[in-house]
Amino acid sequence: MSVPSRDLGRRAFLARMGVLGAAAAVPALVAPSATATPSALSPLVGLLRPVLAELSRDTLRGLVVMVCPGPDAYSRAQGTPRAEAGALEARGDDFMIAALDGFVPFPDQLATPLAAALATAVDDIGLPLPTGLLAPLFPPVWTLDRVLLELLENDEALPLSLVVALLLNVVATQVNPLALTGPFLAPFARLSLEQKCRAFELLEGPDAELVALLDAGLPEPLRSSISGLLTFLAGALLEFSAFGSYNEWGVYDASARTVTERPVGWQLSGYQPDGVVDGWADFIGYYQDRTEVQA
């Protein structure tokens, strides 16, 4: 497959210069516990977070409709609108965000340099900051990479959902440079299903230039672990999206330990028409009536 060739080499070079990667990552690796005490955050950081969270959500919406398209704008945009409920009705996007940010035990020592390398790439692509979300107090010239830089300089561990979103968007613009502008906040969400699959092809391959870009951001001894990580991540993102979009999570009440309504995945699949059971009348007998066998 031929990929529209934007110059990832230049980005890899920038990352290798260590503008962000080295600065952000090395102290964390040398003294992991020291990073537990957050530095005093700049007030800006608090304001930027929700902006970036929206970008993440928009990207993950584009992701989960890949495995369960529905009657929503994201499914329409990828070219597969459906009448019946889909991933967004099942809250697949919330599932992914909750999982990535709350529970994936992914070490910051890996996530932060990745984010730094991605910030460099974002700069080079010129990925715009989602407009309309920034309060007027932000300088209009601020770009996404400037924002990321601000966060990283403040020693913020970026939420994993954001790291994933940056990755998907960087790859999205590789696949289709025109995705830089359009509806939604995230270039990835603007892709057709076919283009999204090509983005995953780059991740899973994994694409050599992408590997070079990200590897450069990693400190030793983690260099060259990136290609394995990308193939793992690409698979895991799709698999986890599928699990979350078809299971009961979106309507589960943990305190009552029950579902509040019939989960989308159950509606779609006809699973347990009358809800949870203690048993099924499905015991037919024994094959050829044999109830035991000899050695």
Partner: protein, 589 residues
């Protein structure tokens, strides 16, 4: 000072604990995960609540569910499916208990003797292990599986491709059969009533398997049954209750002590008479972070195929031939889905109650899953996305189109066809022991228990025999589904799913490529035995590993008792007590 400390209460550890507690030894079992003493309180029948690998009550992580799961590095697309907690990974196993094929043992002389992983045979004969198979089969107990709709569909397919029926426990030829499984056969109203909160589905009006379909979420059925009478004989329902109640059912028995939420971080050794000898362990309490050290005459490592090598390496135990963690086998699974125009009952009954055998190549079994896991399994692929890209693979064969994951409308439509109108077949490959597939310590940050394991599998560089076997069985699976009436057949081409795990601390005849001797004692550390799947010499030819592991662990218990406690072996001389015995029940309640 204990007689024996057992590390890990999964498939293997509790077997040694129960056997030696019955002999009157002072046994301590340390389990890293939660106790799960009261499934009615701790468990539900919801797949995300149960099986979410990050947050589920059946996951690999500390007892406190609010704390994150334990991170393990997998430098490839793959998924490690191990569980912490009493019962270990058997908490959600399917209870299938086929015996290892005779061809994977030393001295096998059948006509197909060259068809197996002949470089890595068990260092003794099949006949040697046979009495231990029988002992475990009687203890769990293992029975012939009851048949539901999805078994009927599977059998129809097997008949359709001309396979004969196997009616023995020992496999000798290509054949199919109901599973021999560690699931109590349905009795009373079990399997005859559909319902919720129906008194007929409570114990004792129902006994054994109620066909509830939640094997993957842990078995606590029939409702109201004492723990040792739950249908599925995961060790939390079988061997652990026996170990804890040993004096009640074994003359001279002594109750084992079980401590959960206790992660062993180090095995201690000392030099004695020119030998390195294990003499105790240190563990960390999850809830408090406190550490404890206790000495023992014998240490039994049973933390599983990924964690046993990790603990060995973190304890800086010797590794002169560099085989610690190597030779990891996984049955290089694949997954074939058939879509039908009729009811297949995929989500009803025990998760997998029918199988076919292809000695020398592997085997296959039917598997029913809940909707989220069904879709997870359909997307878990090393062959890219069907119709879009093949990731350098995308095999063609008697399935429809190229192998690969479904996506978008195709994926959704497959499930909308009906989760009970599809049938999955798990392809179980007889895979070779290969040095390249291994556990090492990760360069990623350590957790509170030390460096974490990194599990590397080179699925695209597996041996020619492994790859050939996988293609063979995948083709049989697709043909079986078609013969059963499937309208559409999809082969997914799974990356490694580490669920049938074997041989990462293998026993072997040669000291050049094994960690354990033929007694399952570590070659370089005396008084240290391994009693989980990692001790297996090879992948057994494809049969699901737990029964063989448990038979071997029983034999290991005898070796420990004979070698270090001056006792006599018992398996040849005595009759086993079944884990459903009324004395066990009485002692529990």
């Amino acid at each position: 000072m204990r007689d024996v400390i057992v590390i890990g209460a999964g498939g293997g550890g509790p077997v040694v604990a129960k056997e030696l507690a019955a002999r009157g030894l002072d046994v301590l079992i340390l389990e890293a995960g939660p106790r799960h003493a009261d499934p009615d309180r701790d468990w539900t029948h919801y797949e995300n609540d149960a099986n979410n690998p990050l947050t589920g009550f059946l996951r690999f992580g500390p007892a406190g569910r609010e704390a994150p799961a334990w991170y393990r590095e997998t430098p490839q697309n793959s998924f490690i499916w191990q569980l912490s907690g009493v019962g270990g990974t058997t908490q959600h196993y399917f209870g299938n208990c086929p015996r290892a094929y005779p061809g994977v043992f030393q001295g096998y002389d059948g006509a197909d003797r060259d068809a197996y992983d002949t470089d890595h045979l068990f260092p003794f004969g099949y006949e040697e292990l046979a009495p231990y198979f029988e002992w475990v089969e009687a203890t769990l107990p293992v029975q012939t599986a009851a048949m539901g709709t999805k078994e009927q569909v599977f059998f129809r397919g097997c008949e359709g491709i001309g396979l004969p029926v196997q009616t023995t426990k020992t496999t000798t030829e290509d054949s199919f059969r109901p599973q021999q499984n560690a699931i109590l056969q349905p009795g009373g109203f079990a399997g005859k009533v559909t319902g919720r909160d129906d008194p007929r589905l409570r114990y004792p009006q129902a006994t054994g398997c109620t066909f509830c379909g939640y094997c993957m979420q842990g078995c606590s059925k029939p409702a109201g049954a004492p723990r040792n009478l739950a249908a599925k004989r995961s060790t939390d329902n079988s061997y652990v209750p026996m170990a804890l109640t040993a004096p009640s059912w074994a003359a001279g028995g002594r109750a084992a002590e079980l401590i959960a939420d206790a992660v062993v971080t180090r095995i201690h050794t000392t030099e004695r008479g020119g030998e390195t000898v294990a003499d105790g362990v240190t563990w960390r309490v999850g809830a408090t972070g406190e550490t404890h050290r206790e000495d023992a005459r014998v240490v039994v490592l049973a933390a599983g195929c990924t964690e046993s090598p990790r603990l060995w390496l973190n304890s800086r135990l010797p590794n002169p031939n560099d085989w610690v963690g190597r030779g990891y086998t996984d049955h290089f699974f694949d997954w074939v889905i058939g879509l039908f125009d009729e009811d297949t009952g995929s989500t009803r009954g025990a998760a997998s109650a029918a199988r076919a055998e292809f000695p020398g190549r592997g085997g296959m079994e039917n598997v029913g899953l809940t909707p989220g896991l069904q879709q997870f399994a359909a997307v878990f692929s090393d062959s890219g996305i069907r119709g879009h890209y093949a990731n350098g693979r995308g095999q063609e064969g008697p399935w429809d189109g190229a192998a690969g994951r479904m996506i978008g409308p195709e994926l959704k439509d497959a499930l909308m066809n009906g989760v009970d109108r599809l049938l999955n077949i798990l392809v179980i490959t007889d895979d070779d022991v290969e040095a390249q597939n291994r556990v090492t310590l990760s360069a990623l940050p350590a957790d509170e228990h030390g460096p974490v394991p990194k599990v590397a599998f080179h699925q695209r560089k597996r041996s020619a025999r492994t790859l050939r076997n996988r293609e063979f069985v995948s083709a049989r699976a697709a043909e079986t589904l078609r013969a059963a009436g499937a309208r559409k057949v999809v082969r997914v081409d799974w990356p490694p799913l580490l669920l049938h795990v074997q041989s990462s601390m293998r026993m072997g005849a040669s000291d050049a490529d094994s960690v354990l001797d033929a007694n399952a004692e570590a070659r370089w550390v005396k008084r240290l035995f391994i009693a989980d799947n990692s001790a297996l010499a090879n992948s057994l030819g494809g049969p699901n590993p737990t029964l063989t592991s448990q038979a071997l662990a029983t034999r290991t218990a005898e070796k420990i008792f004979q070698t270090y406690f001056g006792g006599d072996p018992w398996v040849h001389a005595e009759a086993p007590v079944v884990s459903t015995d009324a004395r066990v029940t009485a002692a529990l309640t």
